[in-house]
Amino acid sequence: MIGADANGSGADSNAIAATSAGFDNPVLQSQAMYRNLLSAMAQPGRIISCDLSLEVPLPLWPTTAAAALTLLDFDTPLWLDPVAATVLPLSDYLRFHCGCPLVQASGNAAFAIISDPAELPPLNVFAAGTDEYPDRSATLLIQVERLDDSRGVILRGPGIESKQCFQAKGLPSGFWQQVQENHSGFPQGVDMIFCAQDRIAALPRSTQVEV
């Protein structure tokens, strides 16, 4: 059960006492969040609303926290962007509720949380898997202020009937070119989940992007 298997690594008892709560009902709420994540990944660029009431430490957003509570545990090394990594309540929260080890080297991470798109490093610093094991690749949770599926770049590929518009606010310059390079390395590559305050959208490596 989420929270119950926290290994407490690095989180002393004071930090635990001060940590915000996780899901009230971990079993059913993580299931509901998972279906949002699955819908997003299966339909790239489509915006999925998430009905969440979570109090989480800033700069984490409820969607990002819910995704972390749903997917992370002691098997998933997590990388935090340099700004988020300095926010003690945030790393305590993730360690306590998910029990995930935090890693310094981005290439060793199964998941990464990027609290602000301006902090997003080049995509190729993350594990892309190998041609024989492309699943051994990172999933990036990227917080953005706004998602829009009525304008922006054009997405095509698995999960998209013909084409899908997509825009996320604040992505660094050169980002879409990196996404194209990420796609051209298929089956290797990283997969991205964009988290806005109350909605998410995903961009798996299989998606082609037309800028």
Partner: protein
Amino acid sequence: MTQAAQNAGMQVDQSDVTGEAKAGPDPHYNFAYLDEQTKRMIRRAILKGVAIPGYQVPFASREMPMPYGWGTGGVQVTASIIGPDDVLKVIDQGADDTTNAVSIRQFFVRTTDVETTTHTEEASIIQTRHRIPEQNLSEDQILVYQVPIPEPLRFLEPRESETRKMHALGEYGLMHVKLYEDIATHGHIATTYAYPVKVNGHYIMDPSPTPKFDNPKMHRMPALQLFGAGREKRIYAIPPHTAVYSLDFEDHPFEVQQWEQSCEICGAGDTFLDEVVTDDQGGRMFVCSDSDHCNRHQEAAE
């Protein structure tokens, strides 16, 4: 297998075909039976499978309260995605009322108290062994396949390290040779079940032992398709609207099975038919393998 596990799975109560609603999930089990750590591991594997269509993601398959061969891979996939608001349909060879389908449906009713249905269009999750429903599925549905042998190249190359390399390099010549040998021997491609497909122009994939009649339904299907192989510990996926082509040759294009006769119950001429024995005198008739579709078609005709 523990006694508790046996209680959760293997008791088949034939009176409970549609899984009547109870007061709530059995409190002796975690929701949907699997522990939360196992669900997270499977959920992560499914997401990678969706991101890499047709690629077989290894996962740490758990012992389930039913024997391998009873769809433990599909059951673990369904258990990892199912929630209280889902409506579940379970079919085996197209029918909702076989022992395997009834047993799996009861397992989920007991451990989740989820609503069940036999009507294809009412289901949000359909778990299947060996068929795809005749009725078109929608974007709001997920089709979960039970898979015995996920590796389409296994019969040609027994070594996992080698098949993995072949998938990585897209070296699929052996598969074409195998199909061409069919043509040389039989004059046509004789493979009728588990007919290999190419997903999104990349991976060759085993569609599970569905009849090749069902292969065209996989192509650009609006529903998400998830595949679970319990004994072989593999999960794979096809996202909605994904191109899925059955392998063939220019001079021997892919063709589905066809029957001279129509269904002798509902009269449908466009469905997959099973030949069933009707009496001990050797009497036989052809009927739809999809029992829900057959019932509905029959009702509509009356």
